[in-house]
Symmetry: C2
Subunit: 221 residues, 2 copies
């Protein structure tokens, strides 16, 4: 993980913590006596919330209702997934044989969780100040880039847009394949009858979210 | 506020922050150019969540689901109100003339908010380490006292108890007095027809919660 530590500019002391941060419960279960990342994720979630609260408090003039909303968008699953992928954290994840991947990739929720677990590990290992600095280095470029907005729910965002512009919105299940325990759903989203996005995932709901995300990108919302 | 600073063992640098921490919006509105405590409360809420998460992570063996539940009970309104009153923070609250009190006392929500706002002020003024130490000094005695349990919702807790013991539960509005804008409700809670608690408040719901809390204390739950 040296490359990762260099990338996020930390000098870890307790390497064991970082191993735990990347261990999914399915992996921990198969390797007795090892802990999984879930408790670290709980801790990292709280670190993130505070660091972002502090940043918004100190740098924006928003009231607490607006800050709550803005923060939610930068710590939602889609945002965490983006941070995680941008650092290549997915390369270090360990899951057990029982944990199915979707299309050869880790499930989005796991990739997102790993980011929080890593922040939890840094907080425990190197303290709040280092964890804060690390989080700010990663997240502030997103917060300060007006072209990037995370939606915790792309379908709702698209619905809102379509309502405003009085267009029709429709999701269509195009394909359903694979065995029962490992299905793959392909969903298209149509606005006024025109395809704006196609999503593929292990759950129909997630495939719809993916399709909606692509549509939102096309519409440049 | 010197007495308070001595009690919580801090040496404040920026006194203005602490003034804001005790200023309700109704007071700020009447004294133009002053800020109210709401943004500090947002920040303090996040500090509290992290400090308690850290404490539970480091001192308990609970999984993340249990930690989430336990933390919720120690940062719920009833708990914050208790911490606030135990420090006498209510003596420093400033509200405007428009803000009605209930029975001569500040509303519970305001007293609870003030605690979070104070923690937010300490975090900004003296840093995370001092805020953490202050929070732990106040909260750990509650966490480690098996006789103290905070319920975010006393009525639900009582309902649960009564269901288990197969008794009947009934709330009765005994008295309703005062002018429309400042009503006082008196509610009794009866278990199997016997009065277990009486609550008095400006809202019927809150009076029921108070009555339920007294009943829970009597039942030693």
């Amino acid at each position: 993980m040296d490359e990762l530590f260099k990338k996020i500019k930390i000098n870890p002391k307790d390497l064991q913590l970082y191993k735990i941060a990347f261990s999914h419960s399915s992996y921990a279960n198969e390797h007795r006596a090892k802990q999984d990342y879930e408790r670290l994720e709980f801790l990292g979630d709280a670190v993130l919330d505070l660091v972002v609260a502090d940043y918004l408090y100190s740098n924006k003039k928003e009231n607490e209702g607006e800050m709550t909303k803005v923060r939610a968008s930068y710590v939602c699953e889609n945002a965490l997934y983006e941070y995680s992928m941008s650092l290549g954290l997915n390369n270090y994840i360990k899951v057990g044989h029982g944990e199915e991947k979707e299309g050869g990739k880790f499930k989005k929720a796991i990739v997102a969780d790993i980011f929080e677990a890593l922040i939890g590990a840094i907080y425990l290992d190197l303290g709040y100040a280092t964890a804060r600095k690390t989080v700010l280095n990663i997240i502030v470029p997103y917060i300060e880039n007006p072209d990037i907005v995370f939606f915790s729910d792309y379908k709702s965002a698209l619905q809102e847009y379509v309502q405003t512009s009085q267009q029709s919105l429709h999701y269509e299940l195009i394909k359903e394949e694979g065995p029962a325990h490992n299905k793959r759903f392909t969903v298209q989203v149509k606005i006024d009858g025109i395809v704006y996005g196609t999503g593929v995932s292990g759950s129909k709901k997630e495939a719809e979210q993916e399709a909606a995300k692509i549509a939102l990108d096309k519409l440049a919302i």
